[in-house]
Amino acid sequence: MDRSSATALQVSGLAKAYKDVRAVDGLSFEVRRGEIFGFLGPNGAGKTTTIKLMCGLLRPDAGTVSINGSPVRPGGRGGLKTIGLSPQSIVIWETLTCREQLEFAGRMYDLSRTAARDKARELLQAFGLQDKRDKLGKTLSGGMQRRLNIALALVHDPEILFLDEPQAGLDPQSRVLVRDYIRGLAKKTTVVLTTHDMEEAEKLSDRVCIIDRGKLLVLDTVAGIKNRLGRGDVVEVEIAEDIRTSLLPFVPGLRPDAPGVSLTEHALSLVSDEAGRILPEILQAVKARGLALEHVRVRAATLEDVFIQLTGRGLRE
């Protein structure tokens, strides 16, 4: 199969509003078979609503979703065996043991008793829950519950796996474990991943889609996005004085409203492929004005820089 062209998931003109709020506003994109698709956006951007629409858990106001060429019918009988969903909130059966709930979930997808048992054993092992297999869900730590939450989405070997914030609340060891597992899935399973952890998204995703206020802002590979929007380096400068009044007016080549410039009271961040020219101008102005330089750094642009550049620094919730 040609991995690069085969479409696993197609979203066309998807829209959903809650009263006056347009949570999803005409989204269209495709997810290729077997890729890990990073689905990013700030809080309230419409990620979870979009995932629910893609899973058929919500009825869209407009647009269509199709999986492997077949339209997703919201509320269609018989379930969507091709889909696995690990929701953002932890959704487990608190009074069943880890093993029992994995086996039960398998049985709900018509796995035989033996197959469900084998799959449960495999997933408990894979997610480091083997020692906790006979512990009730409610007695697990938050991190363990999160791992179980992901494992429950995998009992039926779905073709498309939706992971909504899978790494929230995980310790570093668990993050590595989950990351490695997701990477291991990529060959055979299409993964749609939402996360606020840009580093994680950058490490895992084949392609990234950034949305805000229900609209698609950008969709490309991480390198492609950085090349288009975050080309060059990031210059970070921090001074003790108010940077807008005491420094910026004295750097001729730097406008506060220029693309790639982010400001707080004392700090400046600039994404530019002309960092080598602008930084000496800044430092010269600092010296000439007798300002107290607290921090200066030049580094390569990351996905987070692009994300902030696209969605802004303002808090959403």
């Binding site: 969507l80 608190e94 009074t95 039960f104 049985r107």
Partner: protein
């Protein structure tokens, strides 16, 4: 194949959430012992108190006439068919004392004999008087025991006074009880309703089993799987029938342990019980359709619980308001609650030894209502919790 898996899962959850389970199981027995404590040991005899001011009068042709004393003796001798006394008779010295006893519910009926009671009867017999001085019955009109005690007491006193006054009563009335023939205590009369009360408690465990999936979000996992609402509700219902049957048996066993003896077949009780349980589960699906959290169930959900409890006559009898006559039976307003029909069926089976044929109307009624409520519940549950919004 999914139904056994859901059944096993729900069974495990019920066992592990043992507090709700224990509540459902002990609710009926608890009320049995509570009612027995208050009513069970009480005698079926009515407490009759007498303020006897009647003075004996001498007669030329015989011993002195003291009808008040005679009537009191007749009351004391009156017995039910099983030999138990109908009245416990005692005297008071003043109307105030009698009134206090009535108000404290230590007595059911106070009868006041006027001072000239015997004199007026003798005069009536000798045609020198045209009327007999009346007795006064005093009691709490809201008390059923006052009404019943008055009826019995009046019947006996009429006969005694008529004999003393030389009046020939136009007819004699003979009392014949149906059922076991023994005089039931108030507790005995409560037992059928207490069995239904145990069944109604399943409303909480059944609704909780369903709402929990919505409350915790696990309904999403079930919706995404191949599970059908029918599979889920069938498995939950089977579990709840088991819990309900256990509660029913425990409640009945508790009643038996304090001396209650029902007359009908235990199998028939279980059959009616199982059907009534299914109907309560069907109602709990409707309740679950309107709720989203366990908290809502334990607060707002109390309302349908009380509706079932009161209008099924589980606590006290209600006036009969006929809805429609149906095949030689009357369908009353509260019969739209299957538990009301269950109370009637249990009453017929336990107190009158009714067989299957004699409770077939109630059984058919419960079955029809169960199907109806399940259909409504399934539709509502699907619409509110399973359908994409």
């Amino acid at each position: 194949m999914r139904i056994p898996a859901i059944f096993l899962k729900t069974f495990r959850e019920n066992i592990r959430e043992w507090k709700i389970l224990v509540l459902a199981l002990v609710f009926g027995p608890f009320f049995v012992y509570l009612m027995y404590f208050y009513y069970g040991a009480a005698s079926p005899s009515y407490n009759l108190i007498v303020l006897d001011k009647d003075q004996a009068v001498s007669r030329a042709d015989g011993p002195p006439l003291h009808v008040g004393k005679d009537v009191r003796e007749k009351w004391a001798e009156a017995k039910y068919p099983d030999g138990k006394a109908i009245f416990k008779v005692r005297s008071v010295d003043s109307r105030e004392e009698g009134r206090r006893l009535i108000e404290n519910r230590e007595a059911d009926l106070l009868v006041v004999f006027p001072p000239d009671f015997s004199r007026s009867i003798l005069g009536y017999r000798l045609r020198t008087e045209t009327a007999i001085s009346p007795l006064k019955n005093i009691g709490d009109p809201s008390s059923v025991r006052f009404m019943v005690a008055s009826s019995f007491a009046d019947y006996i006193s009429y006969a005694a006074v008529a004999a003393a006054a030389g009046i020939e009563l136009p007819e004699a009335v003979e009392f014949q009880g149906i059922g076991s023939g023994k005089s039931p205590s108030d507790f005995d009369l409560y037992v059928p309703a207490l069995l239904v009360l145990a069944i109604i408690m399943v409303l909480f465990t059944a609704a909780a089993s369903i709402i929990k999936e919505v409350d915790k979000g696990t309904i999403t996992r079930l919706v995404l799987s191949k599970l059908r609402p029918f599979d889920f509700l069938t498995a939950v219902s089977l579990n709840q029938v088991l819990i309900g049957i256990a509660a029913l048996v425990l409640t009945y066993a508790s009643a038996v342990s304090v001396g209650y003896r029902g007359r009908g077949s235990l199998l028939l009780i279980l059959l009616v019980g199982a059907l009534a349980l299914l109907s309560v589960i069907a109602i709990s699906v409707i309740v679950a359709a309107w709720m989203r959290t366990i908290f809502e169930l334990l607060t707002v959900g109390v309302f349908p619980f009380f509706i079932l409890m009161f209008f099924s006559e589980s606590m006290f009898a209600l006036p009969r308001i006929t809805l429609i006559p149906l095949g030689g039976h009357s369908l009353y307003v509260n019969d739209i609650l299957p538990t009301a029909l269950a109370v009637k069926a249990f009453n017929k089976i336990l107190n009158f030894g009714a067989g299957l044929g004699q409770v077939s109307f109630e059984i058919a009624g419960i079955a029809v209502l169960t199907v109806l409520y399940f259909a409504v519940g399934l539709w509502l549950f699907h619409r509110r919790h399973l359908r994409p919004r």
